[in-house]
């Protein structure tokens, strides 16, 4: 079932076209990556999809409802984890619930059971500054999940992490995403990350940014342990590199 789709989305700033005629879609439970070099307009596309920015032309549909320029229908995790330093971790992750009018006490109660699943048990009463980089990302992901929107947009969520933590986070994220079945659009410029995590990859190239290719990763998500060490993985990588070089 097609959950989200964009139709001919074009956006420019100061008469400079950033993205042009973008047509993408996301199916229920899918994890799709937007892969492209810096400056190809990936973040602009996310801002349009999330409703924070209105496109010059084109539309965004969620469950066939036009949501163009309407924030609040899709959860959005920006590049930085953006945990509010003055709030304890549990208050940070339950913030979307509080903003919907749920009392702080009830919001905390609703968020609490997810702490174990997201590997955050014991951090509830801590402040974000007391967490490691990986833990902060997990908390930000939990907050995104608790937005209870059908689609999550993740803008380079693991880019600030060191290589080892990043690898651990990939394994953990694949596990969690398989359990919670959250339909996700992920921005990355890391080819290996895109292949490892995604069901499909849209490759964005050029200025203004356009969708150049769509690649399906055939390997099932729950069978990807050590996938990055296989020849199949290297084939995908080579294919994407060829597209980007063009």
């Amino acid at each position: 079932m097609e959950l989200l789709r964009t139709e001919n989305v074009t956006k420019s700033y100061d008469s400079r076209v950033i993205i042009r005629d973008i047509n993408i879609h996301l199916l229920q439970g899918e994890l799709v990556s937007l892969l492209g070099l810096s400056g190809s307009g990936k973040t602009t596309l996310f801002q349009v999809i999330s409703g924070l920015v209105t496109p010059d032309s084109g539309n965004v549909f969620l469950n066939d409802k036009n949501i163009t320029g309407e924030p609040g229908n899709i959860s959005y995790m920006l590049q930085k984890d953006l945990l509010l330093e003055h709030k304890k971790v549990i208050d940070n992750v339950s913030l979307p619930l509080v903003l919907r009018g749920i009392s702080r006490k009830d919001a905390r109660k609703q968020a609490q059971p997810y702490f174990e699943q997201f590997g955050l048990e014991g951090t509830e009463e801590k402040y974000p500054s007391q967490l490691s980089g990986g833990m902060r990302q997990r908390a930000a992901l939990l907050r995104t999940y608790l937005c209870s929107c059908p689609v999550a947009l993740l803008d380079e969520p693991f880019s600030a992490l060191d290589m080892i933590t990043k690898g651990q986070m990939h394994t953990w994220y694949l596990d969690v995403i398989n359990k919670i079945r959250l339909s996700t659009l992920l921005i990355t410029h890391d080819i290996e990350e895109a292949i490892l995590l995604s069901d499909r990859i849209y490759v964005m190239t050029g200025v203004p940014g356009e969708i150049h290719n769509e690649i399906h990763i055939e390997k099932r998500r729950n069978e990807r342990t050590d996938f990055n060490l296989t020849p199949e993985f290297l084939d995908y990588k080579e294919q994407i590199l060829d597209i980007l070089k063009q």
Binding site: S50, P71, G72, K80, L82, L84, K87, L99, Q130, C147
Partner: protein, 267 residues
């Protein structure tokens, strides 16, 4: 491991400097380098302080009352005006230059006018304190509101937060450190403002008492008043620091984390 001795050193150095100044003052007055009617010795100032203590306390309470009332009104006004200026850009453009101009008016020059307009009661004193304390807080809060990471606002907007929710969850917490920095400065200005306004008329307060002892050439008592003003100002500043610590518990956590990281790096 170096942290503890360093912290002791940081406390000892100003204490030593203070003792040195006290010693110099005593030497100057004891040797007669400056006559005692111009500069009383620290011992005679301390004696005057102890002897006059009940009287000083009565006047100090009045000045403190004026300072605190003025400070509270200044804080409320600063909060309202800074918030409105942040919300409406036109208002900010219109008011900010006026606010800056108000700070160039010497306090001592407007004090007699306030007495003329409002009489010798508490009102002109409180008004003067409001005028002197309002600016640092208002400008601080405005800077604080503007320091918010736009991405934090975008994040809340993506969660369908309204303007008031963004203000409450992001803008106010971001402005708090700036608010407390302004409040700390304003707390010391408040006492000085109250005393200055009392110089120009009134029945009670440290400024009134100061004028009386000055006219009686009782400089030891005058120095005792100055010391009391310093103590009251320091007390208010310490109170602000305490309120800041209680209302921003995450700051001490962050600071202790940073110290830990520094220590880790040193090791």
């Amino acid at each position: 491991m170096k942290r503890k001795p360093e912290s002791i050193r940081n406390k000892l150095l100003p204490a030593a400097a203070f003792c040195l100044i006290l010693l110099l003052w005593w030497i100057i007055s004891a040797t007669g380098l400056v006559p005692s009617y111009m500069l009383p010795s620290p011992i005679s100032v301390a004696a005057a302080f102890i002897k006059d203590f009940p009287n000083l306390m009565t006047h100090a309470l009045v000045s403190l009352q004026e300072a605190i009332y003025g400070l509270i009104i200044g804080v409320v006004l600063a909060f309202i005006i800074a918030s409105l200026m942040d919300r409406f850009e036109t208002l900010e453009k219109a008011l900010l230059p006026l606010l800056v101009v108000t700070q160039t008016i010497p306090t001592i020059a407007i004090a007699p006018l306030l007495v003329l307009w409002m009489g010798f009661g508490m009102a002109p004193k409180i008004t003067l304190v409001v005028v002197t304390t309002f600016f640092p807080i208002a400008v601080g809060m405005l800077d604080g509101y503007k320091s918010v990471d736009p991405d934090e606002i975008n994040l809340l907007r993506s969660m369908k937060a309204n303007r008031l929710q963004i203000f409450r969850h992001v803008k106010i917490p971001a402005a708090l450190p700036y608010f407390f920095s302004g409040l700390r400065v304003s707390a010391s200005y408040a006492v000085v403002g109250a005393v200055i306004s009392e110089w120009l008329g009134g029945f009670e307060g440290l400024g009134v008492y100061m004028t009386r002892v000055r006219k009686a050439y009782a400089f030891d008592k005058m120095f005792a008043v100055i010391i009391l003003i310093i103590i009251v100002s320091l007390f208010l500043m310490a109170l602000v620091d305490l309120i800041k610590k209680v209302s921003m518990p995450w700051l001490s956590v962050t600071q202790s984390n940073n110290n830990g990281a520094d220590l880790h790096e040193k090791v």
